[in-house]
């Protein structure tokens, strides 16, 4: 469900895309990296020549540039788009009953009397350097708070990924192995149910069972600086388990679909008709082609994980970015909200880009240009 913008359906330029579905070369000559370059107009610009000679590097550079541009646009949207919304920061911050004088004071206090373009540039300039200003509510440095909490959130997400990725890929392969038989159907139904469970329900269910009834886990999952690694790990056991359950089903279903797609291809049939054993078919013929889609699936789900962290942190009262942001939203502490929003978006964009680039790298047609 949550897939990034970059991996979306690539836009075809109107005419070229729709004109000739039929006369596409049946003999399987693959699409050239750049039709204009391939027809002999190589003389063009430097970039065009570069695309022709090093299509792989060019594509990766293109993706990198696209992501940076996207991040910039997102920052504009998070800051400027909000300005455009009806309602005034100061009024909403103080509530409808505030006196005009109080509103005026707070505007001045928070620097809202300056034009928004000026504030945006100051904010962006600071953000690039890692300075997100001061919180309206606590008057603390936002960057300092985020610095601590981002580490905590990443710690959580890292262990969730460490467990869920191998598990999901393994289960996906298992489902393919037993395709349309009982184990596959059971996995299918369970994963369908798991997709439908809200994160907080899983979280509280785990707390109820493991923390309250059996007392084998700790709740709330507070971590502080003086904790040892083992203490930390035991504290985050339940949040990690929740996150794993949340992303596992998605990742597994997508892995299954990706592998099935490869296994039903003509070249796997060719391998079968060569009389090769099952193991060799999978290892030599299916795996190299399944790597790209599976990596893509993993990266997309890690992006999803970043978002899942928000709810899980609130459930477990875990001092991470997500909780920080939610708290800030309830008291309408805009500098914190904007900073957190930008950082989450940056991770999301970065992971989607990574997925894209890995898929490009794994494509033999691009690795070995004609």
């Amino acid at each position: 469900m949550e897939s990034g913008p970059i991996s979306g359906p690539v836009l075809t330029d109107g005419v070229a895309g729709e004109t000739h579905p039929r006369s596409a070369d049946l003999s399987g000559v693959p699409a050239k990296p750049n039709p204009a370059a391939a027809t002999g107009e190589i003389g063009g610009s430097f970039w065009r020549r570069f695309v022709f000679r090093r299509p792989l590097v060019a594509l990766i550079l293109q993706r990198l540039g696209l992501s940076v541009g996207l991040l910039f646009a997102v920052s504009l949207m998070i800051f400027g788009g909000i300005e455009a919304l009806p309602g005034d920061f100061a009024t909403t911050y103080l509530g409808q009953s505030a006196t005009p004088q109080a509103v005026e004071n707070i505007r001045k206090d928070l620097g809202l009397d300056r034009p928004w373009s000026e504030r945006y540039l100051t904010w962006l300039g600071g953000a690039v350097k890692g300075d997100f200003g001061t919180s309206w509510a606590s008057k603390n440095s936002v960057s300092e708070q985020i610095g601590k909490r981002l580490g905590n959130s990443l710690f959580l997400a890292f262990f969730a990924a460490l467990i869920s990725v191998p598990l999901a890929v393994g289960l996906g392969m298992l489902a393919v192995q037993f395709r349309n038989r009982l184990p596959d159907k059971i996995i299918n139904v369970i994963s369908l149910a798991a997709i439908s469970l809200p994160e907080f329900f899983i979280g509280y269910l785990l707390i109820m069972v493991f923390a309250v009834q059996y007392g084998v886990a700790t709740f709330p999952a507070t971590v502080y600086d003086s904790m040892t690694l083992t203490e930390r790990l035991s504290a985050i056991a339940l949040p990690v388990a929740t996150l794993v359950l949340v992303v596992l089903a998605h990742m597994m279903r997508m892995t299954r679909a990706a592998i099935l797609n490869v296994m039903s291809s003509a070249y796997v049939e060719t391998a079968e008709l060569k009389g090769l054993g099952t193991f060799r078919i999978i290892a030599r013929h299916a795996a190299p082609n399944a790597v790209a889609p599976v990596i893509n699936v993993i990266a997309l789900n890690l992006a999803y994980l970043v978002v899942g962290v928000v709810v899980v942190e609130v459930v477990f009262v875990y001092p991470g970015m997500g909780q920080y942001m939610v708290d800030a939203v309830t008291v309408r502490d805009m500098p914190v909200v904007q900073a957190c929003g930008l950082i989450f978006a940056a991770f999301y964009i970065f992971l989607n880009m990574a997925a894209d680039i890995l898929a490009i790298l794994a494509n033999p047609r691009l690795r070995h240009p004609r």
Partner: protein, 543 residues
Amino acid sequence: MPELLSVKNLKIEATSYPPGEPPKVVTLVEGVSFNLEKGKVLGLIGESGAGKSTIGLSALAYGRGGVRITGGEVLLNGKDILKLDRGGINSVRGCHVCYVAQSAAAAFNPAHKLGDQVIEASLRHGIMNREEAKKRALYLFRVLGLPNPETFGERYPHQVSGGQLQRAMTAMALCPNPELIVFDEPTTALDVTTQIDVLAAIKHAIEETHTAALYITHDLAVVAQISDDIMVLRHGKTVEYGTTKQVIEAPKEDYTRALVSVRQTKRDEAPDQSGTLLKIEHVHAAYGNGFKVLHDVSMHLSKGQTLAIVGESGSGKSTLARVITGLLPPTEGRITFDGKDLPKALKGRTNEELRRIQMIYQMADTAMNPRQTVRDIIGRPLSFYFGMHGARKTERVKELLDQIEMGTRFVDRYPAELSGGQKQRVAIARALAAKPELILCDEPTSALDPLVAEGILNLLMKLQEETAVSYVFITHDIAIVRAIADSVAVMHRGRLVRFGPKSKVLSPPFDDYTDLLLKSVPEMEIGWLERVLKTRRMESAGN
């Protein structure tokens, strides 16, 4: 000679899952038996759905998708391979029997080099060591006439052309020195001028290596060049089975006779007497991305006549049709219709101008809205152009159905409930409903089986006599051109190579391309391939 492969009373079934209904078991092949001696070639021929590929794969004890071999025996050197276990079958596949698929582009693994894939089976079955296998691959690349055989194996599948891939696939099948190769339509996806080279290469290679082969195709003329025996199949059953000479020259069954005679219809061109309907002058066209597809194309068509545009894929023949319809406005040049300039883009044309030019597509499946009934499909132009409705419209729809030789009982059917030929007829009726003066036919018969295609061509000719409509007929099939055209345009790589009355275009002196094109079309004649190759060799020796 002892029999290499002996198939007895084969029965093959598949389970289909129609949406919204319980699964059904369908019989694909029933009661098929044949024998193949060492070093001989048996051609399996039939229309799509005749079960020929399914039979071919049974020689490897393989069923595609949900296909199962449920009865009969497949004896290879006297042993029934259907009774072997998984390991036993694997030692047959890729060792004694090999397979060449229709689409080599899909059948090669994109992640590995061609050379590694070609020798893989030989190595895995322990037939030869790496050095020997490489030497044999090199030998086969040479025999099959691949360019730079020394380095060819270092390339990846996407780095070579379709014709070369098909030959590489043949090399892959021949490499382990098998006793039998199953060729599954190996040249169908190729252009005619490429097909003849691949065909010659395959024939040469199996003769060189004394390998037996099952050659599957829908093209009787192709199989006549390569096989010793022919089996004609229809609906999963044997129609006729005999030597190539007997089947081609003295077919016993009506169905075979029809297949043999399909290509022999010819029609003399009509004299150019009436006025010019369509005139194309110096037309250039390019895609949105700047890629030029048509260069300086000029031709014209008289009223009530047929202009055939021939060429291979990528020749720009379909693009020309799109330019005429206005879907792709030309960048230069002009098109006049009935003496008046035709606005370049679709948007600039009036409904009246649109009505006078109609189009028939190659795929009737995609050319008709699957959610509309035949009544809606044919009725829409009637209400759109002529404001007809109610009983008058129904009456006219029925008239049109009569005209295309389909009964009025089809009025409320959906396209999915019609056969391929019936769909194409409905598409013709839709075009006719607009009372057009010109119908653009974009390969309307190439997706159909030969007998059905013949029926469609006859219908088009009959309609032309009745309504004096003109056709622009786009095709890659010279036989169709001979059968129906008055004038002919030959196109190659976006340029017009040759244009004029049929009698002039199709008789010497030829330009190089038309010569190659005409000589590449397989003829229903044993020994045609050898003759063409011989003249080619003589010509190259003469140069």
